[in-house]
Amino acid sequence: MPEVEVDLRHITKEFPGQRRDVIFRAVDDVSLEILDGEFFALLGPSGCGKTTMLRMIAGFELPTSGEILLRGKAMQEVPPFHRPVNTVFQDYALFPHMTVLQNVMFGLEMEGVKKAEATRRAHEALEMVRLPQMADRKPRQLSGGQQQRVALARALVKRPHVLLLDEPLGALDLKLRKEMQLELADMQHELGITFIFVTHDQEEALTMADRIAVMNGGKVLQVGTPEEIYDAPNSRFVADFIGETVFLPGRLDSKEGEFGWVRLDGVETKIKASLAATDIAADQNVTVAVRPEKINLFPIKGKVRYADGSSDEAAEYKTALLRDPDINLIEGVIKSSNYIGTDTRYTVAVGTHDIVVRIQNFGLRSDTHFEPGQHVNVFWDAETVRILTQ
């Protein structure tokens, strides 16, 4: 079990609002433990307090209350230039009046590293971000991606315990962003430095991070691995913010262990799904969160075709499926279909609800295609659907 690198205890940060009597609470009682060598993402919409969190770890802002510990040491009284933490800023903040090399050397000079040694290490750092030939350029002569790498080199040359990255890829175009995502993750694994990065891009967080903290309204809603966050969201906000989710309102009928049975408005069959929290009481109004790609369709009449080309009678297939107690199966009618290349999106009317279903297009399109108006069986595994409080 690795050590705790950054320990945030009940951090609250308030700013004076526009009017004197209004206080804006940017961060609201956040406690987090970030482990040594971890790639940690603070994910949330703009204004959720994630950048303020980062700025407090860096030392640019002081928490109104709460404690920040780095390797067990309280940081309250320590100004930014004494913290073993470095930042890669969103707009890179490279010094425009210095060359790339001077930018990278700046932090070492401030530490009192001898010029020759500083030059050598700065060149090494530029080598690492694959920009050794750019040492004598001015930042404005570089492209956005190159500036980003220089900012990274400038921070990493200091060999910090923790590297903070504020929307590091936000200003790059899509293709470059994808490249840098993987590169950053590689670099982090190689160096073993704890990375904490702030992003509003859920895909970026899922791709790069070991663990993610989802924030909204100054609070941390859920902390977990990308799989946990995606597959087992604990709240409607998390389910909605990460990936695509359809929400169905209903009432919890009964529960047993991790599972609950929900009566959806206007649907005969009760739905079995996993409970996001054990304290949800029976008879409570709940929301069922359904991921479109976890749901499957097959026709009520005719044959079910498989990816390998073989097929089964629909009725037999249904009987086989229902032997598994975790399978939910409801009848529905296709309302519309949308072909989007890799898969097709269907909107299926189930009772009074519309469920979005994404079916991957393997094989020929006609194999798995359903027509609007067609009656279908909709089914999914109880574990892939979550019961959330409203």
């Binding site: 425009p96 009046h97 700046f106």
Partner: protein
């Protein structure tokens, strides 16, 4: 056949009113000529007097209305002769007056630039009560008529001098002199320096200073290694502007000078009382060239600074 009926029904023939079109095109031409004429007239009134002044500074005659041939004697005269008189009747050579102007301008500029830079930093970086009031008060010297400012300064100095002289009657009395001129110049120059330096600072990315601190620089190191180098073009531009304004100033100088103190503008005004002379033309031409040069450099620096300001 079906196609034809379709095109007929959807696209009726386009009709052009040729007479109206001609009229509109003509009006457009008239408008264009009008704009051009407007610009020509405006520029004529701006530059023609200056052009005349420059031309007649090379005129080989005392008469200011008639061209008699080319000469440089008025220019050489400036540097050789005693050409002006102060209001008291004492004479000052033009070269002495020029050196006075340069010294006053130089000292006032240095003081105003230091004060203005510090004030800009405070106004841009810090929030404090009364900041908005201070902000608008700063622009007063730019807005209020210079004559009012000059008189108020003179009155202010008078009150102070009276108080000092009353307090120590055995000492020689303190009175107006180069000191009061310099203070007067500093007062209006600070405002201009702040306007220029502040624009530069406001343009600067505050993350740059944070980055410096993040990389281990103390406040002091951050200022000298990052903030100051980035402000410098703005500071120089502000200083050049202040120096130009100082050199060109007459009203504040005239009202706050001591007996016999003369700057270039004071001397030129004295000469003007005896009518426009070729020497005045020559001095004015030199001042125009010098001012244009300084303002040119100042603008160049501000323009460049706007480019380098962005990372």
């Amino acid at each position: 056949m079906a196609q034809q009926t379709l095109s007929q029904s959807l696209a009726p023939e386009i009709e052009i009113d040729v007479a109206k079109l001609r009229r509109d095109l003509l009006m457009r031409q008239v408008g264009k000529v009008g704009y051009l004429l407007n610009a020509l007239v405006a520029y004529f009134f701006l530059w023609a007097p200056i052009f005349v002044l420059v031309v007649f500074s090379f005129n080989d005659s005392r008469s200011v209305a008639q061209w008699q041939g080319f000469t440089l004697r008025w220019y050489s005269g400036i540097f050789a002769n005693v050409a002006g008189t102060g209001t008291s009747g004492s004479t000052t050579s033009i070269l002495d007056a020029l050196s006075n102007s340069l010294i006053i301008g130089g000292v006032a500029t240095i003081v105003a630039t230091i004060l203005g830079t510090a004030l800009s930093l405070a106004l841009v970086r810090y929030r404090f009560p009364g900041k908005r009031v201070l902000d608008s008060l700063l622009y007063m010297p730019v807005i209020i008529p210079e004559i009012a400012q000059a008189i108020s300064l003179a009155l202010f100095f008078k009150i102070i001098f009276d108080a000092i002289n009353l307090a120590r009657p055995d000492q020689p009395p303190v009175t107006y002199g180069y000191g009061t001129i310099i203070i007067g110049h500093v007062v209006f120059n600070v405002a201009y320096v702040v306007i220029v330096v502040r624009a530069r600072l406001a343009d600067m990315n505050p993350r740059l200073e944070e980055a410096a601190r993040d990389l281990g620089a103390s406040e002091w190191q951050t200022f000298w290694r990052v903030t100051f180098p980035l402000m410098l073009p703005g500071i120089i531009a502000g200083a050049l502007l202040a120096f130009t304004l100082s050199l060109d100033d007459y009203i504040v100088t005239a009202m706050n000078r001591g007996i016999g103190d003369a700057t270039l503008t004071v001397v030129v005004f004295g000469m003007m009382r005896r009518g426009v002379s070729p020497e005045v033309n020559a001095i004015s031409t030199l001042m125009i060239i010098f001012s244009i040069l300084l303002i040119g450099i100042s603008l160049l620096l501000q323009g460049r600074s706007a480019v380098t300001g962005r990372g």
